[in-house]
Amino acid sequence: MELGTVLSIILLAPLVSAGLIWMFARQRAALAMTLSLGAAGVILLCSGWLFFGLWDGASYEVSTEWLTLGSFKLSVGFLLNDLSALMLFIVAFVGFWIHLFSVGYMNDDGARGRFFGGLSIFMFSMLGIVLADNLFMMFIFWELVGFSSYMLIGHYLHTDEAAQAAKKAFIVNRVGDFGFLIGIIITYWTFGTVSLTELEQAAGIRPEAVTTLMGLLLFCGVLGKSAQMPLHVWLPDAMAGPTPISALIHAATMVAAGVYFLGRSFFLFTEEALHIVAWVGVVTAVSAALWAFAQRDIKKILAYSTLSQLGYMVAGFGLGTLYGLHHAGDAQTALYYGIGASMFHLTTHAFFKALLFLGSGSVIHACHHEQDIFKMGGLYKTMPLTTLTFAAGVIAIAGVPFIAAGFFSKDAILYVAKSTSAPAFYLLTGTALLTALYMGRLFFIAFLGKPKSKAAEKAHESPWTIVLPLAVLAVFSIGGGYLILYPPSLQVLIHDWVPHPHGADHQLMIIISAVASIVGLVLARVIYGAGAKTDKLETTLPPVYAISKSRFYFDEIYLLYIRKVQDRLADIIGFLDTLVISGVLVRGTAGAAGLLGIVARRLHTGSVSTYVWWFFVGLVLFGAYAGGFLEGILK
C-alpha cells in the first residue's frame, strides 16, 4: 500500500469510530469502548508499520486542493518527516495505552458513549495537527482539538466546576488563536503560501521577509494551546475532566502541540522572537513550579508540573535554536537543535506525565474519587503496583541521572541554556530542584506513612486494564532516554538533533542533575515526612505558602476584568443600544409613522383576515399578470 493511503487510514480511523459511536453507540457503552479502542489500535498498528518498514525516513508530502476563492487557495495534505513521525509515534503509542486505561477507569460512568466518542474525535483532531502540511490545515485541527478538549473537560455535566472549566479552556484558547490566525494570514500574504515545505524554502531565500511580529503572532497560538504565561490559567481548571483526559490531552499530547508547532515552523522566528519565546518558557517553568507547592489536589499538582515542564520545552526550543544559530559546527544540524531539545523533552514528558496522571487516576479510582493528598497516605501497602510505577514517574520527572528519561532530555535543555543565557540557565536549574521537591512532596505524603481516611484505608489495586498501561509507561519513563526503545526511523531526531554536552560540560550537567534531583527528593522527605497530615510549608512559613497559593493573582485579575470591564461594558452598550438607537431614533421615527397610521387606519378594518384576503387578491392578480391573462383582459 502507498504511504499516503496508510496515513489516510491513520487519520480517518478515529473519525469513522467517532461517527459510528455517534450514530449507533450513544447508549451502548461496550460497543463505544470497542470502537474507540479499536481505532486507537488501528492507529498504533499502522504507525508501527510505518516505522518498521514502510517509511524510509525521507520527507514525504502529498496534498490536494480543498477550496478556491479567487486568488486564495487552501489545500489539505500530509507532511511526514522526522519531526512529525516522532509526534505521530507519541500520539499513537501513548494514546493507545490511555484508551486501554480508560476502559477500566470509566467502567462506572453513565455517559461512556459520549466519552469514547469524544476521545476518538480528539485522536482525529490531534493526528490532523501532527500530519498537516500547511498552516491553515493546522489551524483547522488546532481549533478541533480545542473543541474535543472542551467537550471532554465538560464531561461531568452536572458539576458547575466542569462547565466553567470547559468554557474557560475554549475561550482562553480562542484568545490565543486570535493572534495565531493573524500570524498565519500575515505569513500567507507575505510568502503567498502556507505550505510548510514551501515556506521553509521561501524563508531561506528571503530571510528579511520573516518578521518578529509574524513569529510572535504565531506564538500566540502556542501560548493558548501549550498554556504558557499569561494564557496558562485554563490548564489547572481543566483537571475537572476525567483523569484519562488529563493524561492524554492535558499532559501528553494536545498541550504539547504548541511545542510541536514551534518545531514545525521554526524558520518563521527571528532572533528577537526566539528570545521572547525562550523567556516566556523560562518564566512559565519557574512560576508554575512555585505554585505547585500550595496545591493539595493530586491532579492540580500534576497540572502545575505540566505547565512547568511545558515551559521547559518552550524555553528549550527558543534557547536551542538560538544556540544552533550561533553554533560553529555542522550548520544544517545545528538549525535543528531547538527542535531536538524541545521535542526530546516532549517525548519523555509524554511518557512520564501520562504515567503520573494515570497513576493518580488509579489512586483516585481506588479511593472513591478522593483527590486530596492529605487524605491519602499509606497507599504503598494496598496498591503496590501503582505505587511502584508512580515512583518510576517521580524519578523520571525529577531527572535522577541515568535511570530517568527526564534526566537526558532536561540535560539537553539545561546545556543549551548554559551556552546561551546565564540567567535562564540558573532559573531552569533552580526549577529542576523545585520539581524534585514538589514531586517528592506529592509522593511521600500520598503513598507513604499511614492511611488518613477511610477511602485510603480501603483502597485496592486496580484491574489489569489500568495496571498494564502503567507498567508499559513506567518502562518508557525509565528507559526513554536510551535510543534502543525507539524505532530506528525515529532515532535521527532523538540522536542527531539533540544537542549533547561534551567534556567538562558533560560532567557539569551530570553533577547538576544529580544534585538537583537527589537533593530535592531527600529534602522533600525531610521537610514533609512520610504521610504527613498537614502541610509543613503552610504551618512554618505562611508568607511563602501564601505567595505560592496566590498563583500571582492571574485568575483574580482576569475575573476582575470579566466582571468589572467586559460584562460592565456589555451592559452599558446594551443599555445604550436599547435607549438611544432603539428608543429615541427608532421609536421617534415610529411615532411619526404612527401619526400617519391613524390616518391610514380609517382605510383599514384592522382585522387580520381582511389583510389576508387583500393579500390573496393581490396574489390572484399576480398569477393573472404572470400568466399573461391580465394582458388579454385589458386588451
Binding site: 493573524i182 500575515i186 393579500f615 390573496f616
Partner: protein, 530 residues
C-alpha cells in the same frame, strides 16, 4: 485502488447529471417555476378548500415545502455538473406585456444566486417540517402564510428581472408581519408594527435605489444581466449606491439600523424566525453582491470607509450587546445581527476572496441561525421559558437536545468542520489584503466575543444543576428531523466547502469584471453623496 473507486463513482454521478442537464433544459427551467408555484398553489388550495382534516392540511403544507427544497438541491447538482462561465442557467423568459417598461418575467440562476437558492430550499424544508408538528392554533392559516413566504423566497433568488426580485421579497415579507402579529410571544402587536414600519421603510429606499439604477444605467431591460452591460456615471454612482446600501442595509440589520431584528426574531414563531433570519434577511446582502457592487464600483469605493465602521459596529458593539442578553432568543437575534458584520466586511474588502467568502458565510449563517432558532424554541417549550437565568442542567434530561444545540452553537461561532468556518476564514484572509489591514485585528475580536456568549449560553442552559421545570423529555423525532437536516447540511459544507465555494467563485469572477476588483480608491473623507 482505494482512491479510484469513489472518484469513478462520483464521475458517474457527474456524467448522469450532465446528461440530465443537457437532455432536458426545458424541464429544468420549468422546475424553477414549479419551485415558486408549488408552495403558492398549496397555499391557495388551503385557502379555498375550507375546513380540511388535519392530515390533509399537513400533507399540503409538507408538499409545499419539500418539493421546492428537493428541486433546489437537484438544480444545484445539475448546475455543478455543467460549465456556465457566469451565465444564467435554467432561464425562463416570458413577455408580460410590460416590455415597454423593460420588465419581463425572467427567472434563472447564476453562481451567486445558487447558494442562496439552495439555502432557501433547505431552510424551507426544515421550517416546514418543524411548523407542521408545532401544534399551533389555526394551523391552516399558519401554513398558508408560511407557504406564501416560501414561494416568495424561492422567487427572490431565482429572479433575474429586478422588479420581480423586489416583488418576491415583499411577497415573502408581508406574511412575516402577520405571523408575528398572530402567533408571536408577548408584546407581539408592538413588535409587528415596529418591524412592519421599519422594513417597509428599508424596502422603499431600496426600490428608489433600484429604479435610479435602471434609469441612470440606460439599460434596455430592468434585469440583472442587462444592467451589467450599462454603465452608470461616477458622480451618480455614489448616490445610487448610498440608497441601496441604506435600503438593503436596513433589511440586513446593518448597524445602526438593526434594532428591529432581535425583537422580531425573539417574538416571531420559530418557523417564521427560521425563514426570515435564515433566508429572507439575506436578500439585502444578496442584492448588494448581485447588483450594487458589480454595477457601482465607484460608489462602493466612496462608501467603503463608512461601511467599514458600520460593519465593525455590527461586529463589536452588537457583539457586546449579545453578551449582555439573558433571554436565549433575544441573544440569538443579536448574534445574527453581529454575524452580518462579517459579511459586510467581506464586501468591504471588495475582492473575489472577500465576496466569495461572504456568500459562503451567508449560506452557512442561514443554516446555523435557522437551526439555533429551532432548537431554542424546543428549549423554551421544555423549560417553559427562554430566560437563561431560569434554565439550567438540561443536559442530563435531554442529552440529544444538548448535543444538537452545542453543535449548532459551535458551528455559528465558526468551529472548523462546520460550514461557517470557511466563510469567516475567507473574510479574514481578504481583510488583511484590503487597504486597511488593521481591520482584521479588530474583526478577529469577534471570534472571541462570539465564543464568550455562545459558550455561556450552552453552559447556562445545559450544564450545572437542574433548574426550573422540565416538561416533555428529550427532543422528539418530529423536531429532530428538521434539526438534523440543517445540521447535516452545515456539516457537509463544513467538510466539503467546494460545493458552495465553486459556484460562488465562478459567479463572482464572472460577475465582477476584472478591473472593478482592482478599483481601490479609498477616499479619506466619508462621502455621503459626492
Amino acid at each position: 485502488m482505494t482512491t479510484q473507486m469513489p472518484i469513478a463513482f462520483l464521475g458517474g454521478i457527474g456524467e448522469f447529471l450532465q446528461s440530465a442537464g443537457a437532455a432536458s433544459p426545458v424541464l429544468n427551467a420549468y422546475l424553477v417555476i414549479f419551485a415558486i408555484a408549488i408552495p403558492l398553489t398549496m397555499a391557495i388550495a388551503l385557502t379555498v378548500s375550507g375546513k380540511l382534516p388535519d392530515p390533509a392540511v399537513k400533507f399540503c403544507g409538507l408538499a409545499g415545502f419539500i418539493i421546492p427544497g428537493l428541486i433546489s438541491i437537484w438544480l444545484a447538482a445539475i448546475y455543478a455538473a455543467g460549465n456556465h462561465d457566469g451565465a444564467y442557467a435554467f432561464q425562463v423568459v416570458r413577455d408580460l406585456g410590460l416590455e415597454r417598461f423593460g420588465i419581463r418575467l425572467h427567472l434563472g440562476l447564476n453562481g451567486i444566486a445558487l447558494p442562496f437558492y439552495v439555502l432557501a430550499g433547505i431552510v424551507g424544508m426544515a421550517a416546514g417540517l418543524y411548523a407542521i408538528q408545532s401544534g399551533v392554533e389555526r394551523l391552516r392559516l399558519y401554513l398558508i402564510l408560511l407557504l406564501v413566504m416560501q414561494g416568495g423566497l424561492m422567487g427572490v433568488f431565482s429572479s433575474v428581472d429586478v422588479l420581480f426580485f423586489y416583488f418576491f421579497h415583499e411577497f415573502a415579507l408581508i406574511p412575516t408581519f402577520i405571523l408575528i402579529a398572530l402567533w408571536g410571544r408577548s408584546g407581539r402587536k408592538a413588535v409587528a408594527l415596529e418591524v412592519t414600519i421599519y422594513l417597509t421603510f428599508g424596502a422603499m429606499i431600496t426600490l428608489a435605489g433600484l429604479i435610479a439604477l435602471y434609469v441612470f444605467s440606460g439599460a434596455e431591460h430592468f434585469n440583472m444581466a442587462a444592467l451589467r452591460i450599462g454603465l452608470v456615471e461616477a458622480p451618480v454612482q455614489g448616490t445610487i449606491f448610498g440608497l441601496l446600501l441604506i435600503g438593503f442595509g436596513v433589511l440586513v440589520s446593518l448597524f445602526p439600523f438593526h434594532t428591529w431584528a432581535p425583537r422580531a426574531y425573539s417574538t416571531a414563531p420559530a418557523p417564521a424566525a427560521m425563514l426570515h433570519a435564515g433566508v429572507l434577511k439575506k436578500f439585502g446582502l444578496y442584492g448588494l453582491i448581485q447588483l450594487a457592487y458589480p454595477l457601482l464600483p465607484q460608489g462602493a469605493a466612496d462608501w467603503a470607509p463608512l461601511l467599514m465602521w458600520l460593519a465593525l459596529g455590527n461586529l463589536i458593539l452588537i457583539g457586546f450587546v449579545t453578551m449582555a442578553q439573558r433571554d436565549l432568543k433575544v441573544m440569538l437575534g443579536n448574534a445574527s445581527v453581529m454575524h452580518m458584520g462579517y459579511a459586510f466586511l467581506g464586501l468591504y474588502a471588495f475582492s473575489t476572496v472577500g465576496i466569495g467568502a461572504a456568500i459562503m458565510m451567508l449560506f452557512a449563517h442561514g443554516l446555523s441561525v435557522a437551526l439555533l432558532f429551532l432548537l431554542a424554541d424546543v428549549v423554551e417549550k421544555r423549560g417553559g421559558t427562554a430566560d437563561m437565568k431560569d434554565l439550567g442542567g438540561m443536559g442530563q434530561k435531554a442529552p440529544v437536545l444538548m448535543g444538537l444545540f452545542t453543535a449548532a452553537m459551535l458551528a455559528s461561532i465558526g468551529l472548523p468542520g462546520f460550514a461557517n468556518f470557511w466563510g469567516e476564514l475567507g473574510i479574514f484572509v481578504s481583510l488583511f489584503n484590503s487597504d486597511t489591514p488593521w481591520v482584521l485585528y479588530v474583526a478577529l475580536c469577534g471570534i472571541i466575543i462570539s465564543a464568550v456568549y455562545g459558550l455561556r449560553a450552552v453552559a447556562s442552559v445545559f450544564f450545572g444543576e437542574t433548574k426550573g421545570e422540565f416538561q416533555g423529555g428529550d427532543i422528539k423525532t418530529s423536531e429532530k428531523v428538521p434539526a438534523l437536516l440543517l445540521l447535516i447540511a452545515l456539516f457537509v459544507i463544513g467538510i466539503w466547502p467546494r460545493l458552495v465555494a465553486d459556484p460562488a467563485n465562478e459567479g463572482v469572477e464572472h460577475t465582477f469584471p476584472a478591473q472593478t476588483l482592482t478599483v481601490t480608491l479609498p477616499s479619506t473623507e466619508i462621502s455621503m453623496t459626492k
